[in-house]
């Protein structure tokens, strides 16, 4: 196979605006980092809102946190950390053109993502049963009811946005798995997989911050 710049361009591996595959890879990665920066600012608003509301309602937030399901939250954190490991292995192995291993690891990562979503869905259903579902069925009593409602408002806003990102991530990873299986992504052209890995790590990191703030503070 012709691996010169012209050859690779002829085989459709290097887009017209790039001089060579290395510039393409470096540019694409840089672009993903810039995108991740925007995601930090996006979630940052919710974290800032959480901080302000918690300062104004300290006891209510501690109480609210006690209503979350710490076992579920911890398992979800473990799942995401594990999935970050599996995707990292996949990204590293693509350099050796280990098609089957890479595809398997990617499918595993996606499954872990789906497991995360399922567990979180179960959590939401428990919260519904306990009348903690803001805007749908929320009924708490006691002096801190309003503050707890505020806590759960932020909880749902942050976890729903996070879960949306997990869902998108799962779809992207399954697409990557397919492309790897069809050899469209390989050692010669690993870029989309590297980008998917970076995105997935952000999704994981957001949960690392969410988990203590939502699940651990009252315990």
């Amino acid at each position: 196979m012709n691996s010169t710049a012209a050859g690779m361009r002829a085989r459709g591996l290097v887009a017209e605006q790039f001089d060579d595959v290395e510039q393409q890879r470096a540019t694409s990665q840089f672009g993903m980092w810039v995108f991740l920066a925007t995601e930090v600012l996006f979630f940052g608003v919710l974290f800032a809102g959480y901080a302000v509301c918690r300062v104004r309602n300290p006891e209510a937030f501690l109480l609210g946190s006690q209503h979350t399901e710490i076992v579920f939250g911890a398992v979800e954190a473990g799942i995401l950390l594990l999935s970050s490991a599996t995707i990292t292995f996949a990204v590293n192995l693509i350099a050796f053109d280990q098609r089957r291993w890479v595809a398997a690891l990617l499918v595993l990562t996606a499954l872990l993502g789906v497991a995360f979503l399922v567990l979180h869905g179960v959590e939401y259903s428990h919260e519904y049963d306990e009348h903690l579902m803001v805007a749908v069925d929320f009924a708490q009593h006691g002096p801190h009811a309003r503050g707890i409602e505020l806590f759960f408002f932020l909880y749902y806003a942050m976890t729903l946005y996070h879960s949306l990102h997990v869902l998108v991530g799962v779809c992207v990873i399954m697409t990557m798995a397919t492309l790897v299986w069809r050899r469209r992504i390989r050692a010669e052209y690993p870029t989309p997989l590297i980008l998917a890995g970076l995105y997935w790590h952000l999704v994981d990191i957001v949960w690392i911050f969410l988990f203590p703030l939502m699940y651990l503070i009252g315990r």
Partner: protein
């Protein structure tokens, strides 16, 4: 004298207005000078160095000293303006200790004024000339803003919070009052007049319009009627904080922090009682949000203020207390 007709100068009708105007006109002058300076230079350059003129076109030498100059000099000028403005701002935020408080409740789309002596007005505010006046303001619904151009004062009025502004009116007359924070349909109709009278005329106006009960007396009546004394009174069976003389005291809260019992604290204790619980008490106080209007809360606060040691009960009497009239 009312502020109609074509004016290109706004009357200076408060004690601080003149110093604000001095800063204003100085800034106008400074900006005009800079603008004219730049325009003149541009104009001269455009003529002198236009295409085809045989002016000297060889390139300039070192530019750094010039650039540093016009970086540092503007910066210093701006810092000077900032410092000047700081002084004026501090003055505008610090009401004199002897300022008389008048209460304002804003709602879509009107201003409700309550004088401490119980007199009420809608969309007009009568004040005496020469006496510092502090407005304690809150809103019943959305954010409004109390603005009197002639006094150079403005302050946003927020729901469930008290904001204040102060002024000393220095010219007798009628001055426009505007709402200047967009608040919905009739925002542009939410205005009125501030009517500045001589202290004697003001006392007379207070006499004419008194309702028989001062604001603090109204508050005392509400305190009993709404059942507050049932828990907070001396013979209550419920363990509730004693409110006698509470205003201005330091309160210890259940989370270990302390707070001064000011207007906001008392307002929130009535409307949002779960927000700050006093140490050593159970959080059983019901909220009166929906049961009491903002005006009524102000009356209760006035009553509680009047129970401070050293003040005669219901000290803000129904008659004018200014400069020589008997209480």
């Amino acid at each position: 004298m009312s502020a109609t007709g074509l004016h290109f100068l706004l009357p200076e009708a408060s004690a601080n207005a003149h110093s604000v105007d001095v800063l204003w006109w100085s800034m106008v002058g400074l900006c005009a000078a800079i603008a004219i300076g730049v325009f003149v230079v541009m104009f001269v350059f455009c003529i002198r160095y236009r295409k085809g003129r045989p002016a000297d076109h060889h390139l300039a030498r070192e530019t750094l000293p010039v650039e540093l100059t016009w970086t540092v000099v503007p910066f210093l000028i701006f810092m000077g303006v900032f410092a000047w403005s700081l002084v004026l701002y501090a003055r505008s935020r610090t009401p004199p200790a002897d300022a008389e408080t008048i209460y304002v409740v804003a709602k879509q789309w009107m201003w409700k004024i309550q004088h401490p002596g119980g007199q009420r007005e809608i969309n007009t505010l009568h004040v005496p000339e020469g006496i510092p006046i502090r407005l304690m303001m809150t809103s019943q619904d959305v954010i409004h803003s109390f603005y009197v151009p002639a006094f150079r004062v403005k302050q946003d009025v927020l729901p469930d919070r008290y904001t204040e502004l102060w002024f000393t009116a220095t010219r007798i007359g009628d001055y426009r009052l505007f709402c200047t924070q967009y608040c919905g349909l009739d925002h542009s109709r939410m205005g009125g007049e501030v009517i500045v009278m001589s202290p004697k005329a003001y006392a007379g106006w207070l006499d004419q319009h008194n309702t028989g009960t001062s604001l603090a007396e109204q508050g005392a009546a509400l305190f009993r009627a709404k059942g507050c004394s049932g828990c907070h009174g001396p013979n209550a069976s419920v363990h509730a904080p004693d409110l006698d003389g509470i205003y201005g005291r330091i309160v210890h809260l259940s989370d270990g922090s302390t707070v001064v019992a000011d207007d906001r604290y008392i307002h929130d204790s009535i409307m949002l009682p779960d927000k700050q619980i006093v140490a050593g008490y159970a959080p059983i106080m019901p909220s009166f949000s929906g049961e009491l209007t903002e005006s009524q809360v102000l009356a209760i606060i006035a009553y509680l203020k009047s129970t401070r040691p050293g003040t005669a009960p219901a000290h803000e009497s129904t008659k004018g207390t200014y400069k020589g009239t008997k209480p």
